[in-house]
């Protein structure tokens, strides 16, 4: 141990020297630190008394603090402090705050909600939040949909109907569109004729001769397209069969094709494969009746409501 260390007289060292003269002080802990340490020990004892803490046998100390909340049945329940009880109490508060709006939503019909300036403002913000979380992954943030997968909700073309009641029905029960595959029922010529006919309905350049025979097939018993899409091909909303006479497409990627022949090919392949993947989940069990009402008005107001 090097004796020339000046401070070694006043401050204790660990008694070990490295490299000849490197030493380590051995100061006592600062008083404030020691007392803070004692305070944390006292704090933890108080904490044990207030909150659930020590296990004893097959149970545990529940602590002296408790929480009171009102349950679904309207009864007041008191429980020892725990995060679940805390959530129930917090939900009571959140419901209290939302009540002025949600009880109005529950009490009014769709038109009244849309007309009332205060409520429609609420629907717009709450509806947007609900839509973003639950619907946007499929129908996209603005409701514009994805061709080949999910319908556009902003236009006035509806598979199942754009009235408040129909939209509400869609949301509560979900939907599942089904068109059979015709690839093995009809021959290539017939399918081509039908595709040309369907193309002709929305003004796509087509072969007039094929379209004429397609028209006959469309309403014949062989193809029986008319059964779902109707004689006029304007569709049947009770079956989710779309209007084929407008320029709006969901399953056949007509807008994505540039040349008329590619557009017809897209229609052809839809007829061949049919459509059996349009699944709109049911929300009746996932969302509350008020939330679904808010979403109904929100979707209706996206632009296409009827």
């Amino acid at each position: 141990m090097s004796e020339q260390n000046l401070q070694s007289q006043t401050v204790q060292t660990t008694g070990h020297a490295w490299d000849g003269d490197l030493q380590e002080f051995n100061n006592p802990l600062p008083t404030w630190w020691v007392y803070t340490f004692y305070v944390t020990i006292v704090f933890s004892i108080v904490y044990w008394l207030i909150y659930p803490s020590w296990p004893i046998g097959k149970s545990f100390l529940t602590g002296f603090s408790d929480i009171t909340y009102v349950n679904k049945a309207g009864e007041t329940v008191t429980s020892h402090w725990n995060t679940r009880a805390l959530l129930m109490a917090d939900l009571n508060k959140a419901e209290e705050m939302q009540k002025p709006y949600f009880s109005k939503v529950a009490a009014n019909d769709f038109e009244q909600i849309a007309k009332d300036p205060e409520l429609s403002g609420f629907v717009l913000s709450a509806g947007k939040a609900l839509f973003t979380e639950n619907c946007a992954p499929c129908h996209q943030q603005g409701g514009q949909g994805v061709i080949g997968f999910f319908p556009n909700l902003t236009d006035d073309d509806w598979l199942y109907g754009g009235s408040y009641d129909k939209i509400h029905e869609t949301l509560v029960n979900g939907r599942r569109g089904y068109m059979p595959a015709f690839g093995e029922v009809l021959n290539a010529g017939e399918i081509d004729a039908l595709a040309n006919y369907v193309a002709s309905l929305s003004g796509i350049a087509h072969d007039a001769g094929k379209a004429a025979s397609g028209r006959v097939l469309f309403t014949s018993e062989t193809a029986a397209c008319y059964y779902c899409h109707t004689d006029s091909a304007k569709g049947r909303q009770d079956m989710g069969a779309p209007n084929l006479t407008d320029k709006i497409w969901l399953w056949a990627d007509v807008p994505g094709a540039e040349k008329a022949e590619d557009k017809i090919a897209a229609i052809r392949s839809t007829i061949i494969t049919g459509v059996n993947k349009g699944v709109m989940p049911a929300w009746g069990e996932r969302l509350s009746p008020e939330q679904i009402k808010v979403l109904t008005v929100y979707v209706h107001e996206l632009g296409g409501g009827k």
Binding site: P55, M88, F149, V279, P281
Partner: protein, 249 residues
């Protein structure tokens, strides 16, 4: 003999310090963790909760979920907070992951919590989303998993179930175990949990559900989507007394 204890003994004796540190930590762990295995209420035993083990197909889906590291971005634990309840639904129960070995709770949420994702989307959406997330959600940062369309290796399904059985999951090997499952879960579920029929059950469920939209063979996608679609759907909370759940904590 008087023992004159000095803290320096520990500080200057690294071996002793190591042993004592480990002792202190183990006491903490024993007091905090071990009792949970003995306190009956840990796994909620409340009327209306009857969680079943995964079917063979779902189980393989879960293994793929773990293999692909989905848990590095997704938790499966809805905490009892208002905002989580509003976004994800009812808070997760311990009972819901009682057959999960290892559990997938986690706390890292680059993507949303998946504890109740079952039924939220269609199979079609999941398939597209897993192959190319940005085709469904343009701003997503989730990686593409195109290889999930490859065929599922079903050869070791019975062994996987046996391994879980060894840690307490009630997959049945014997007739007595099978009958116990019929009592507990009903005949239909019990048939699914019988190890001898694992492969047959796996293929049947995949064919019936056609989760990946492709009839040719059972793919890893079939298994993963079957798993995702069952997450959080086993408890019908309209049939469970919410106050009982509070009381079990």
């Amino acid at each position: 003999m008087r023992i004159n204890f000095k803290h320096e003994w520990i500080e200057t004796n690294i071996g002793l310090m190591l042993v004592l540190t480990m002792l202190a930590i183990s006491v903490g762990g024993l007091v905090e963790i071990a009792p949970l295995f003995f306190i009956k209420k840990t796994v909620e035993n409340v009327e209306g909760i009857n969680v079943r083990p995964y079917t063979p197909l779902e189980l393989r889906g879960r293994d793929i979920y773990i293999r692909e590291g989905c848990y590095t971005c997704h938790s499966q634990m809805i905490r009892p907070f208002v905002d989580e309840k509003l976004r994800y639904g009812h808070y997760s129960l311990a009972a819901e992951s009682q057959y999960d070995h290892p559990f997938q709770w986690g706390s890292k949420r680059t993507g949303p919590d998946l504890a109740r994702v079952g039924g939220k989307y269609s199979n079609e959406w999941h398939v597209q989303h897993l192959i190319a997330p940005r085709s469904m959600v343009p701003e997503s940062v989730m990686p593409n998993y195109p290889w999930l369309m490859q065929l599922l290796d079903q050869s070791d399904i019975a062994n996987r179930m046996k391994a879980l059985r060894a840690v307490g999951v009630p997959y049945s090997l014997t007739e007595a175990e099978r009958e116990a499952n019929v009592k507990k879960f009903g005949a239909e579920v019990a048939a699914m949990l019988h190890i001898a029929d694992a492969k047959k059950n796996l293929v049947e469920q995949a064919n019936l559900g056609n989760y990946d939209g492709d009839r040719a063979g059972v793919s890893e996608m079939d298994a993963l989507v079957a798993y995702l679609q069952v997450l959080g759907t086993m408890v019908d909370f309209t049939k469970v007394d919410a106050d009982e759940l509070v009381r079990s904590r």
